[in-house]
């Protein structure tokens, strides 16, 4: 599903050059639930962002769903992200000015779906994460766990093949974290969604199919 070949990422300033990712090769199969672990600053999130086409590698090739995305235009990349990928962030990144339902509808705005269709799909996604009674609330009226569930609903509403989660339980207590993890595991099991998750939590990582460890930008496990 995801094929990374010799990926390198270098951050350059006027005086310093930092190698964030150093020659990573990784294949992730369709339907796999993979977790990435490593100390802070080892390049986990950078790698996830590269997989999510949010950041460009300095070197190397990425193939997703057998498509080489290195020559994609801004327009084509946006469309690809919209249809194939879903994102979950540690700090949720919900739009506080919009109600829960409008937040979840967001990925569908960039497709050719009617307002009615969007509402049906967003309500269904919120039902899946157990928040069908919070459609009219604003994000600031919800708890951390509820916000992350809204973020998951937003990630799955467009039915993407891949979900990329950057420390989805990082801001939550263990009970809430387990709830979120349960939702992701069910999504992987029932819908066959490929999930790549960055985490600091060993216990969460052990619930996934495979664990990749990074250290100083290189894969060590």
């Amino acid at each position: 599903m995801i094929h990374l070949q010799n990926i390198e990422k270098v951050y350059r300033t006027d005086t310093v050059e930092t190698l964030a990712i150093n020659g990573i090769n990784l294949d992730i199969a369709k339907g796999e639930f993979l977790s990435i672990m490593g100390p802070s600053g080892c390049g986990k999130s950078t790698l996830l962002n590269i997989m999510g086409l949010l950041d460009e590698p300095s070197k190397g090739n990425i193939e997703i769903d057998e498509q080489d995305i290195s020559r994609f235009s801004d327009q084509k990349l946006a469309k690809f992200r919209n249809q194939k990928l879903g994102f979950i962030f540690q700090s949720y990144h919900l739009i506080n000015d919009l109600r829960v339902l409008d937040n979840v509808e967001l990925p569908l705005l960039y497709r050719t779906s009617s307002a009615k269709e969007r509402k049906v799909l967003a309500t269904a996604a919120l039902e899946k994460v157990g928040l069908s009674n919070r459609l009219k609330h604003f994000p600031t009226q919800l708890s951390g766990g509820q916000r992350q569930r809204v973020a998951i609903a937003r990630a799955i509403v467009g039915n993407p093949q891949i979900i990329l989660a950057d420390e989805p339980t990082g801001n939550l207590d263990s009970a809430m974290g387990n709830e979120i993890m349960e939702i992701l595991i069910n999504l992987n099991k029932n819908e066959g969604t490929t999930i790549v998750m960055v985490t600091h939590d060993e216990s969460m990582a052990h619930k996934t199919h495979r664990l990749v460890r990074l250290f100083d930008g290189s894969q060590v496990q």
């Binding site: 962002n49 946006a78 919209n82 990144h93 000015d97 967001l106």
Partner: protein
């Protein structure tokens, strides 16, 4: 999608009330000034009481002599003699309204001085221009031929001189110790139409200077063609006649032009015999308007950049979930148009109030400004100008934001 954009636009406006106030104040204040200025321009430029036949008219008001070798120049209004002796022979001129410049005279009412501005006119003046008579009528050729001391006065003069008397026809008005018999009272004319406004109109034959045999003098005229199509022919015939005018001593060129209404004004302000100054005046007005619009636009651009950069997390999320740079630019422009149209509505309300106050205060004698479709049309254009120019640059800058950096900015 638009509904979503509107929702977020309104939410953003509510979120930072001070920024919203500054933006709306800038837009509405600028628009108010523009709209009042447009209403003023419209008042001057659109056919208005009593000059309704502009489409068929050419205006003659300056005569210029030049000595091209020495660089001398002499410029003045036109003589009655020129109109009567030369222009009246033109075949394409159906009628000609001749009037003198306004002159001031003093009248005394209850020991109080009243300044009366008067003009001398010919008989056709009343046929070319459509003054509304409240009582009586205009003087005819017979009164002119007999040099009768008759006068048509304005409604304002009637009130100032005679008070609340119901009818003043046949009564005498004394100006500079000469008694004129009032034969007509006309509705007031806005002072902005300086060629037609006056307190009292008299037959030209009682003036002292109409017999002067000189091309320069103190008169101007409106030449009326039979139809709009005849206007270019009339201009051509006029120009040919001017070429044949006898050259005065010490000069080698004569310029006298029959211009459309606006060109006649611009020639007086910024032109000369060979150029009507239209391009110059239009360029200056456009430049001034552009600069006037540019200041609040730059202010809006800055506020918009701050506002948009505050929302970098949202930009990052939208990009991550499939918004292209183009879509984001579109979204932010729509949001900005919502803001500017809101400012536009406030601006229109303010303009109506300001125009009402200006009319009430009678700042320019008898000028009645009004909001009409022309003014609203230009206001709409100004709104779109604000919306697009102040939105495009910040939106473009924001759309180029790196997603990862945008997400980290929160």
């Amino acid at each position: 999608m638009l509904k979503n954009y509107f929702k977020i636009a309104l939410a953003v406006l509510k979120r930072r009330k001070f920024f919203t106030f500054i933006s709306l104040f800038g837009i509405s204040f600028t628009l108010t000034i523009l709209m009042v200025a447009t209403a003023f321009m419209d008042k001057i430029l659109s056919p208005d009481y009593p000059d309704y036949k502009r489409i068929r008219s050419l205006y003659v008001s300056t005569m210029e002599y030049k000595n091209t070798k020495q660089g001398w120049m002499n410029r003045s209004d036109v003589s009655f003699y020129f109109f009567e002796h030369y222009v009246s022979t033109l075949k394409t001129v159906q009628k000609m309204a001749i009037s003198s410049n306004a002159k001031a005279s003093n009248a005394y009412v209850n020991n109080k001085k009243l300044v009366i501005e008067y003009k001398y006119t010919n008989a056709d003046y009343w046929n070319v221009l459509e003054y509304r008579f409240l009582e009586g009528k205009a003087f005819q050729q017979r009164e002119i031929d007999n040099a009768e001391l008759v006068a048509v006065i304005s409604e304002e003069t009637k009130k100032a001189y005679f008070g609340d008397t119901k009818t003043v026809i046949g009564k005498y008005i004394s100006a500079d110790n000469i008694n004129y018999r009032v034969i007509g009272v006309v509705e007031n004319v806005s002072k902005t139409l300086y060629n037609f406004s006056g307190d009292m109109y008299l037959p030209y034959t009682i003036s002292k200077d109409y017999k002067n045999i000189d091309l320069m003098g103190g008169y101007n005229a409106i030449l009326l063609a039979k139809s709009e199509a005849d206007v270019p022919k009339m201009k051509k015939e006029f120009d040919q006649m001017v070429k044949k005018l006898p050259l005065p001593k010490d000069f080698d060129k004569i310029y006298c032009n029959a211009d459309p209404f606006f060109a006649n004004i611009t020639r007086r302000i910024a032109g000369d015999g060979s150029s009507n100054g239209l391009t110059k005046v239009v360029s200056i007005i456009s430049l001034f308007t552009l600069l006037f619009l540019l200041l609040p636009t730059i202010n809006l651009v800055n506020i918009n950049i701050t506002r948009i950069m505050e929302r970098s997390s949202e930009i990052g999320v939208r990009k991550a979930f499939g918004a292209s740079s183009k879509t984001l630019v579109y979204q932010f422009i729509v949001e900005n148009l919502v803001l500017t149209f809101l400012g536009g509505v406030i601006g229109i309300i303010l303009s109506v109030i300001v125009i009402h106050l200006i009319n009430g205060a009678n700042l320019i004698s008898n000028m009645r400004l009004s909001m009409n479709f022309t003014v609203l049309f230009y206001s709409l254009i100004a709104c779109i100008f604000f919306g697009l120019f102040s939105g495009v640059y910040p939106a473009w800058r924001m759309s180029k934001l790196n997603v990862v950096k945008a997400l980290k900015a929160q």
